[in-house]
Symmetry: C4
C-alpha cells in the first residue's frame, strides 16, 4: 500500500497514500480537530508539492483537499488554500532533500514539548525503536529531538526551522512547543515510519515519567 521506492509516483499515488495515512493517524488521535498537515514532493526542480489544504479533516480527506502547488504556493490542482504551515514544509524539503513531510499533533508530543521546553529539546537513547530511523543501526544511538518555540509568524518560524536543521544536521524530526511533531523521509512510507517511531518514543518517555532514556539511567 505504501510505496517504498525512492521516489513518489506522482499526484495520484501521493493522494492515495496521504489519505490512508490521515485515516490511520486520525484513528490514533494524532490529527484531531483538523490539526496536522502532510506533503509529498511531486517534482524536485522546479519544486512541486502535494499538500493538504488548510482546515481539512485529516481523518476524512477528499482528493480535492490534497493540493498540487508550486514553490510559490500557487495551487494548480485541488480546492482551497494550502496548509497555513506550507512554508515549514518547503523549509524542510529544501534543508533535507526530503520526499515527504508529515506533521502530527498528538497528546504525547504536546505534553512532552511543554515539559521539556526549557531544555530546548529531548535526548533519547538506548531504545531499539531508534533503529527504525533512517541511518541508525544501533539502539545505543543518541537522538536529539529539538523543541522550537511556537509562533504565528510562519515565515519567521520557517527561518528558525531552517537554522535548527542546519545546526542539527542529523536530527530526524523536531517538536514545535505545545504544537506537535514534524518529521520527514525520502518517501511517504519512510516519513510515516518516522512518525510512528517518534510518537512511540514520546509516549514511552511520558509514561516512564522521565525523559532520561534507558542509557542514561545513572545520570
Amino acid at each position: 500500500m505504501f510505496q517504498t521506492h525512492a521516489w513518489n509516483n506522482g499526484y495520484e499515488s501521493a493522494v492515495s497514500q496521504i489519505t490512508e495515512i490521515g485515516r490511520e493517524f486520525y484513528s490514533r488521535g494524532w490529527v484531531l480537530g483538523t490539526s496536522g498537515n502532510f506533503s509529498a514532493v511531486l517534482h524536485r526542480e522546479p519544486l512541486w508539492l502535494a499538500i493538504t489544504s488548510t482546515g481539512s479533516d485529516k481523518g476524512h480527506l477528499l482528493p480535492q483537499q490534497i493540493l498540487e502547488i508550486d514553490e510559490t504556493a500557487s495551487v494548480f490542482r485541488g480546492e482551497g488554500r494550502p496548509s497555513a504551515e506550507t512554508s515549514l514544509h518547503f523549509a524542510i524539503v529544501r534543508e533535507r532533500t526530503a520526499g515527504a513531510v508529515l506533521h502530527t499533533h498528538s497528546v504525547w508530543s504536546t505534553v512532552l514539548s511543554e515539559q521539556r521546553a526549557s531544555e530546548g529539546g529531548i535526548s533519547v537513547e538506548g531504545y531499539e525503536m531508534l533503529k527504525g530511523l533512517d541511518g541508525v543501526s544501533s539502539h545505543q544511538h543518541r537522538e536529539w529531538l529539538p523543541i522550537v518555540e511556537n509562533s504565528q509568524d510562519i515565515e519567521e518560524l520557517a527561518r528558525q526551522i531552517s537554522n535548527t536543521l542546519k545546526e542539527n544536521p542529523k536530527v530526524h524530526g523536531f517538536l514545535l512547543r505545545a504544537h506537535g511533531l514534524y518529521t520527514w523521509g525520502a518517501t511517504i512510507a519512510e516519513a510515516k515510519r518516522h512518525v510512528e517511531i517518534l510518537e512511540f518514543l514520546m509516549e514511552t518517555l511520558v509514561r516512564t515519567g522521565s525523559v532520561a532514556g534507558p542509557g542514561r539511567a545513572g545520570l
Copy 2:
C-alpha cells in the same frame, strides 16, 4: 463526508452525519453506555431540530433514533422520545445561534470536571490546538471552559446554562460536573471539530497532571 457549508442540508444529511459522528465518538469511548446526545438545526424560525432519542446507543444509531422535533419538543419524525437533555440543546441553539450541538461524556472530561469543580471552570492557554476553535487565531488565546454543577432538574439546568452563556459570551463549550462536555458550531462539522479539540485539550491537561496551561508555567 462532513458538510462544511454554513447551513445543514436537512434531515437526511443530519441523520447521515450524526450517525457517523456517533460511530467515531463511540470508538473513542466518548459516548459509552448510551451516554451523549447530538442535535442539528433543521430550520431556524420556527426552530426545528434533529436530535438523538433518549437511551439510544450512539455507536449504532438507527435512522429512526434521530428525531425531528419542533420547539415544543413534539416529535414529527422518528421513534421514541427526544433526549432527556433536549432543553439544554434548545438553550444553546438560542444563545449561540448554533447549527449543531454535541454532548460527549468522556473519561477525561469526567475526571477533569471533578478535579477542578471548586474553581468553577478551567483556563486553557498556549496550545496550538486552540486555533481550531471558531474565531481563535493564535495559540496565545486564553479559553475559559466553565464547569456547571450537574442537576436532574433539566429546566433549571437549562436556565443556568443560558445564564452561563450570557455571562461568558466567548466560550466555545462548557462542562457539566462529572457528566461531560457540551460544545456547538455553525455546522455539524464545526461542532465535531470543537469536540475533538476540547477533548484533546482535556486529555492533555489530565495527562500533564496540571491544569495550568503552558502559558501559565510561572504561576
Copy 3:
C-alpha cells in the same frame, strides 16, 4: 443491531449479538487472550442458555463457539465445552432473573479490584453515567460494586456469588479479584450497556487516582 425488546429472539439472534459484542469488547482490550465469557437466556423454564465455549477467541467468535445448553450444562448445539465459568452464569440468571450475563476482563477492573480488595468492594457516587444502570434515576445514586475473592473452585465460587447477590439485592455487577467484571441485564443490549457504564466508571476511578466518588469529596 442490538435487540432492545424485553426478551431475546432465540439462538440465531443471540449468536449475532454476542458475536458483535465480542468484536467490540475485543477491540477495546476487554476480552484479550480468550478471556471473558458471555451468555443469553434462550428459555426460562426449563432454563436454556446460549453461552460461549471455553477457550474461544472472543474477538473472532464462530457461530459454533456459541453453545446452546440446558441447566445441566449439556450441549445441544455448537462445538466444544461451555465456558469454565458456566455455573456463575447460572447463579446470576437465577438470582436476578437476568436475560443475559456478560463477563469482561479489562486492565481497569484488574487494577481496581486489586487496589480495593481489602475493602470488599467499591462505592461509586455522583457520576451522571450511573443513570445508565437499570432503575437508577439520579447521579446522586450510590452504587456498591462488591469484590469477591477469586477461586478455581467454580461451584464454591457460584455459591458465594449467589450469597453476595442475595445480600446486595440492588447491585448491578460485581468484580472477581484480579479477574474482572460480571454484569447482566434483562436483554443482551442492557447487559452490554451495563458493561460499558461500569468499565467507564472503573477507568475513571483509576485515572482519578482515588476511588472516592465526586459526592464523597469531603470524606
Copy 4:
C-alpha cells in the same frame, strides 16, 4: 480465523494468519514503525519457517513479505531478506519445539523492561489472566518473565536466549530490554493468545505502578 489445530496448515495458512495478526497488533500500537516480527514453522525436520521480511510494515503485510526459509535462512519464497532477528526465532523454535514465534514491541513492554532491568526479570502472580498461558491451571501460578539485555550482535543474543530458555524451562516468554516481548506457542493461535495475555499483564503492572503481583501484596 485462527487455526487451533496442533499443526499449521502450510505456507498459505501461515501467510493469512500472520497478516491478520499484524493488522490487529498494529491497530493496538504493538508493532509500530516496522517493529516486531513473526514466524511459523512450516516443516520440522528439516526446519522450514514462514517469517516476516526485515523492514516490512506489520500492519500492512503483503504476501511476498512473508518469506519461506530453510534453517540456513535461505529464502525460497517471497521477496527481501528475512527479519534481522531470524536467529532468535530459530533459537526459540529449537528450545521449545514451538510452532510459531511472535515478537511485539509495545510501549508497555518497553517501559517495564527498563524499570525492572536490574532485577533480571519480572515475577507475576495472582492474576486470572495467567490461566490463558499453556499449562497454567490456576491464578496462583507464579510466572517468571526474564529480561535479557538488548544487543546488536544477534548470534550472541541467540545464544543467550537459548541459555535463558534452558535455565528457565517453564517460562512462556521473555523481554529484550527496551526492545519488547518474545513469546511462542504450539500454533499461531496459541502464540497470539500468549502475546495478548503477556501484553495485558504488562499494561496492568505499569498502570498499577508496582510490579509486585497481587499475591505478593505483603512483600
